[in-house]
């Protein structure tokens, strides 16, 4: 595997297929051989160690009311949790599930609308002049400022949260897609039209794949801001969800649950970005291979 991947003089001896699986395994093995995983472990250890010492050993001022490391993890993995929430209670998964569902709806909607809109914004000058100024005025409005309007417009407690989550994602995706189209070297569309491609074929074979790297950067940002606005939305509206959990735990003075909610958010947030990244690598083999061979 090493030989295939590292062979930069690909002209002659490059094997026909560098498989995705093979590439992943190769990356995993180099990663494990590098100091990075161990440095990462040290990073975690420092933060967790400081938390433990500050709260439970040194009892620093202002830290004393904070739940300690052992208390939080004890509660989190307790079969019979004091505050009624741990990995053994179904309620925990209800919160995660509902948040994930909201993210999924909002993210898919934002991608489904944002990518085509961004492609057209980048592709058609007229369309851009018509839509983009409006877009640029709406985009800087912080998501929190939309909260009252979202609650007024949308019925129930579910749709306002999904709307707020969607909104942030949508702006990130659209803008990056548009930049992606603009970033495409003019030679590519010229070459395509030289080779007899129609305007639509240029769009299909040049604009869409050419914008793909930016689109996926946009989706990475989009899924990040989706979690951000989801929590904001759940704190003010809606029932269940990790944001709701954190907020109500604060109200009810059940502090360990706040930390459990936060750490869980970190983990699911990370997992969802990783999924977007894996999907991007899968769709952009050419990029993965170029980067793997590049020196």
């Amino acid at each position: 595997m090493h030989d295939t991947v590292l062979n930069t003089d690909a002209a002659t001896s490059q094997g026909p297929e560098v498989t995705t699986m093979g590439l992943t395994m190769y990356r995993l093995s180099t990663w494990l051989k590098s100091p990075r995983p161990y440095l990462m472990f040290i990073g975690f250890a420092i933060v967790l160690g400081f938390w433990y010492l500050a709260v439970e050993v040194w009892k620093l001022p202002r830290f004393e009311d904070m739940p300690g490391l052992t208390e939080v993890f004890g509660e989190w993995f307790n079969k019979d949790p004091i505050y009624g929430l741990s990995v053994y209670t179904p309620e925990y998964y209800t919160h995660i599930g509902i948040s994930l569902r909201r993210i999924a709806y909002a993210f898919l909607l934002a991608t489904g609308l944002g990518v085509p809109l961004g492609l057209f914004l980048g592709w058609s000058k007229t369309f851009r002049e018509f839509i983009f100024p409006l877009f640029e005025v709406l985009r800087p409005i912080p998501i929190l400022a939309w909260v009252p309007l979202a609650i007024i417009i949308f019925a129930g407690s579910e749709s306002p949260v999904v709307f707020l989550t969607f909104l942030a994602s949508f702006f990130a995706t659209t803008l990056n897609t548009m930049l992606g189209v603009e970033s495409i070297d003019e030679s590519y569309s010229r070459a395509a039209s030289c080779l007899g491609a129609s305007r639509w074929q240029v769009f299909r074979h040049v604009v869409i794949p050419g914008a793909m790297p930016y689109i996926f950067t946009g989706l990475q940002i989009s899924i990040g801001v989706a979690w951000f606005s989801l929590v904001a939305g759940e704190m003010v509206s809606g029932q269940f969800g990790l944001g709701y959990l954190i907020n109500t735990s604060y109200m009810m003075v059940e502090y360990p649950k706040i930390i459990i909610g936060m750490i869980t958010l970190g983990i699911v947030g990370f997992a969802s970005s990783a999924m977007v990244r894996v999907l991007g690598d899968y769709l952009m083999q050419w990029r993965v291979r170029e980067l793997a061979l590049g020196d």
Binding site: A11, S187, S193, L195, S198, G210, M212, R287, E290
Partner: protein, 301 residues
């Protein structure tokens, strides 16, 4: 190939400045004669009109390798883009085999697969494999079945020594190889004319010399008219039947040099005395224009 070697061809008598010399285009090529007649291109980006091409007339007979030599930024690319159909001309006309590409009533040519550009920095689609890139033109045209197209693409790749790189992406192969793939991609469409916009500019001189021989080899097998922009005199004389030396901006032919070194050529030509004579003849003119361009503060590009 040997027929081509020392045949003397009488030049098209409508040509503005040329003479009948050895090494001119092979007569079996009947498609791809370009007639550039009195073309003017004025850019008007911010009210200040800039003349890029000034009453330029060039006749290129079918099958000729015509080298357009001139200082950087002299407007050579403007001319190429007008032929390709990437932008309009202000006045004059360009015909391909007697058919109007652009001219009065039709300021902008329509890009088409009869005239294919090989770009300065290469324009293979990085998201398509070499094979998919080469099959692109016919696939878009949709006249042949997919399997016919891919079979043809594979055999053309084999002819050009590109076997084994079909499933590589352009980003995975060397830059010299990429240029070859790009030429094969163009030839897949049976173009009448190949338009080269300084394609080897970014290559180092060793790769360049290999590319020149490879290009000639491809040319001997698929005779097309070649309109080749360069500012490298050695390249121009080695490849071309004829050098059109352009004046610095506005661009217009200043001197035409016939390269009467018979084709097929290989790199031994470079050390021949005839090569040096032509070099000397051309160099003086080119240098003068380069100096003018420099004095006028033309930017590199």
């Amino acid at each position: 190939m040997s027929e081509v070697l020392d045949r003397k061809v009488v030049a098209d008598d409508s040509a503005k400045v040329d003479s009948d010399v050895a090494g001119r285009a092979a007569p079996e090529v009947t498609k791809g004669a370009i007639c550039i007649d009195d073309v003017v291109k004025i850019y008007d980006p911010d009210g200040a009109a800039v003349m890029a091409v000034d009453h330029c007339s060039i006749d290129i007979p079918a099958g000729e390798i015509c080298m357009i030599v001139g200082p950087s930024g002299c407007g050579k690319t403007t001319l190429l883009n007008a032929i390709a159909g990437f932008h309009d001309i202000t006045s004059g006309s360009i015909h391909l085999d007697g058919e109007l590409l652009c001219g009065p009533g039709k300021p902008e040519a329509t890009p088409g697969s009869d005239r294919i550009v090989v770009f300065q920095n290469g324009a293979l689609f990085p998201w398509k494999t070499n094979l998919e890139n080469i099959a692109f033109g016919p696939l878009m045209a949709g006249k042949l079945s997919k399997s016919e197209i891919y079979d043809k693409a594979r055999s053309m790749m084999a002819d050009a020594g590109l076997s084994g790189t079909e499933n590589n992406y352009p980003g995975e192969v060397s830059s010299g190889l990429r240029r070859r793939v790009e030429i094969v991609r163009a030839l897949m469409n049976d173009p009448k004319v190949l338009l080269f916009d300084e394609p080897y500019r970014a290559l180092d001189s060793l790769t360049k010399s290999v590319m020149h021989e490879a290009l000639l080899e491809i040319y001997y097998r698929n005779k097309v008219t070649i309109f080749f922009i360069t500012h490298d005199l050695e390249e121009a004389i080695f490849l071309g039947h004829r050098l059109i030396i352009m004046s610095s901006r506005p661009c217009k032919p200043k001197k035409i040099v016939d390269v009467d070194i018979p084709h097929p050529r290989d790199y031994s030509v470079l050390t021949s005395s005839r090569f040096r004579e032509i070099m000397l003849e051309a160099k003086g003119v080119v240098h003068e224009e380069a100096q003018k361009a420099f004095d006028a503060g033309e930017k590199e590009g």
